[in-house]
């Protein structure tokens, strides 16, 4: 039981006031490492994800590639994106990337969410949706740079990869990691995974001639808790549309956390204004009003 731990919440969507129990427990940040250079596209991770999360399996779409469906779904959180990439010398390269929630350090979904506690970020870096608090507005989808949150028309809730927070909370690795036969998926602390990823990128450069090999851990959103080793880190878009410079829309950071409370207070001042006008200036009445009584000493308010 010594490895059993509960997840400590670090951030909560739309939550006024402090986070309950903040800072009582220190946690190291977890990270999933995906080495696209050793992925063989077997999709064992897809199946493991569907199985562990006990999701109804939907119909797949065949588009003349090895990809199961065009993008992730509410009940399909883990998708191998397949791309037949033509190199500059005309030769073909198969790029396969496991697409899922990136568990951003600065999650756009959490910023955009208006429902108190519908999205939480644990201190270990996992960003998790709490469907019982979700109101189904889908603002999270507009906050996400990776097109991950997906809406279920029946339950009117949004779902995505949890990084198997239920397993991680019990000291286990996520289901996809457990299923991977090539070892291209690794799970551990962020520091360890970054170290391994950098070593691998170095190896690809030195020994395999991939001059542009590198690690994908975009700093524009504070880094992610899912990182990639890419053959060509200068062109992540080739890997099924991985954005090279993911951004959280400015409106969610500036508008929601600064302008909204300020302008909301101004609206309340409008109410204060009309109340003060009534007391200090007074109403305008149909005319003629009776003449004003001459002020005498006994009549001073």
């Amino acid at each position: 039981m010594s490895d059993r731990r509960t997840l400590q919440i670090k951030q909560m969507s739309a939550h006024p006031g402090p986070i309950p129990g903040q800072g009582v427990q220190r946690d190291y940040e977890v990270c999933k490492l995906i080495d696209t250079t050793t992925c063989i596209g077997c999709k064992a991770c897809e199946v493991a994800c569907v199985e562990w999360n006990d999701m109804p399996f939907g119909e797949t779409t065949f588009d003349n590639t090895y990809q199961t469906m065009p993008e992730t779904r509410w009940n399909f959180w883990n998708l191998i994106k397949f791309n037949e990439h033509q190199r500059e010398d005309g030769t073909i390269q198969w790029l396969m990337r496991k697409d899922q929630c990136m568990h951003c350090a600065d999650p756009g979904c959490l910023r955009a969410c208006p429902a108190d506690g519908a999205i939480v970020q644990y201190t270990n870096g996992i960003v998790d949706f709490q469907q019982e608090n979700c109101i189904g507005c889908e603002f999270c989808a507009s906050g996400c740079p990776f097109n991950i949150p997906k809406f279920n028309q029946t339950t009117k809730k949004v779902y995505k990869c949890t990084l198997c927070s239920d397993r991680v909370g019990q000291g286990l690795e996520p289901a996809c990691i457990k299923a991977c036969p090539t070892g291209c998926l690794k799970f551990g602390s962020k520091d360890d995974m970054k170290f391994i990823a950098n070593e691998r990128a170095h190896q690809l450069k030195e020994n395999f001639g991939y001059d542009k090999a590198g690690v994908y851990d975009p700093q524009s959103i504070g880094g992610t808790h899912v990182i990639y080793v890419l053959h060509d880190a200068t062109n992540p878009e080739a890997y099924g549309g991985l954005p090279s410079n993911p951004q959280v829309p400015w409106s969610y950071t500036i508008w929601k956390w600064l302008a909204k409370p300020v302008l909301g207070t101004f609206a309340l001042f409008g109410l204060l204004g009309v109340c003060l006008h009534y007391v200090m200036v007074g109403p305008r009445r149909p005319q003629p009003e009776p003449p004003i009584k001459e002020a005498t000493d006994g009549n001073r308010g």
């Binding site: 739309a14 939550h15 006024p16 955009a112 208006p114 429902a115 108190d116 608090n133 979700c134 109101i135 189904g136 507005c137 889908e138 603002f139 989808a141 507009s142 906050g143 996400c144 740079p145 809406f151 009117k156 809730k157 829309p249 400015w250 409106s251 969610y252 508008w255 909204k260 409370p261 302008l263 909301g264 101004f266 609206a267 409008g270 109410l271 204004g273 009309v274 006008h277 009534y278 200036v281 007074g282 109403p283 305008r284 009445r285 149909p286 005319q287 003629p288 009003e289 009776p290």
Partner: protein, 250 residues
């Protein structure tokens, strides 16, 4: 405005006059007919439902207070767009109904230059060229017309979501939708204040539909002279000479 709009409005007024009543007592004038009053209160109803269901979604501080009124956040979110559509629909009809008296005139420009006198309460009688609506009412009306267009466009974008219109469009719409709501929220305080305790006698224009003649020559003198054919200043002077004072406690 086109005659088709006028014919539609006249038909609607005629139909609603059969359902409701316009009771005008001696010393009163008919200001708003049944159809106008009906539209006004439908707009008000759907406005406040949309406002309160939107409030919870707008501010995290209000989320736990306001969303339970509508059966929780999920229900508030799913009903809010329908409330909004109903609001825009009824205000659309009101726009057709009111577009002619809401047209801006040179008298309105003069009224706006004079607004400090109005707010500070120094001007007891409105300028004689103030018609059925004054410039302040017209500005509020046109603000709501523009606001409704903004609501409708950004609301549909927010309703359909990022997978149709793209995430940046949604993020921008979200800000515009909120700004429009904040302007209307500020406006509704002024509107309610001026139509109740701020200018006593006004509320009945929207409940029974009738106003006192003294109310008319005070706040809308040009309309008063249009309807009665009498000079508002003269009517006021007669009331002063006869000592027919308005009750200041009302």
């Amino acid at each position: 405005m086109g005659t088709a709009v006028e014919r539609f409005d006249e038909k609607a007024h005629h139909a609603f006059d059969k359902i409701g009543r316009n009771e005008v007592y001696q010393g009163e004038l008919l200001r708003h007919r049944v159809y106008t009053r009906f539209l006004h209160w439908m707009v008000a109803l759907w406005f406040f439902l949309a406002l309160f269901s939107g409030f919870g979604i707008y501010l995290p501080w209000l989320f736990r207070w306001f969303t339970p009124i509508f059966g929780g956040g999920a229900l508030a979110r799913s009903m809010h767009p329908w409330f909004g559509l109903a609001f825009v629909f009824f205000f659309g009809l009101q726009t057709l109904n009111w577009i002619r008296p809401m047209m801006w005139t040179p008298a309105d420009t003069r009224w706006m230059r004079n607004i400090r006198q109005v707010v500070s309460g120094k001007e007891k009688l409105e300028p004689p060229d103030t018609g059925f609506f004054n410039a302040g009412q017209k500005i509020q009306f046109w603000e709501i017309v523009v606001g409704c267009v903004v609501y409708l466009i950004t609301g549909i974008i927010l309703w359909t979501g990022a997978h149709v219109f793209g995430r940046i469009t949604v993020a921008v719409s979200y800000v515009l939708h909120d700004i429009s709501a904040l302007i209307m929220l500020g406006g509704i305080f002024i509107h309610i204040y001026l139509s109740t305790i701020g200018e006593p006698g006004t509320l009945e224009a929207m409940t029974r539909g009738a106003v006192k003649e003294s109310w008319a020559w005070t706040f809308h003198p040009a309309w008063y002279s249009n309807v009665t054919g009498r000079d508002p200043k003269q009517a006021y002077d007669e009331a002063v000479r006869a000592g027919r004072w308005e009750d200041p406690r009302s």
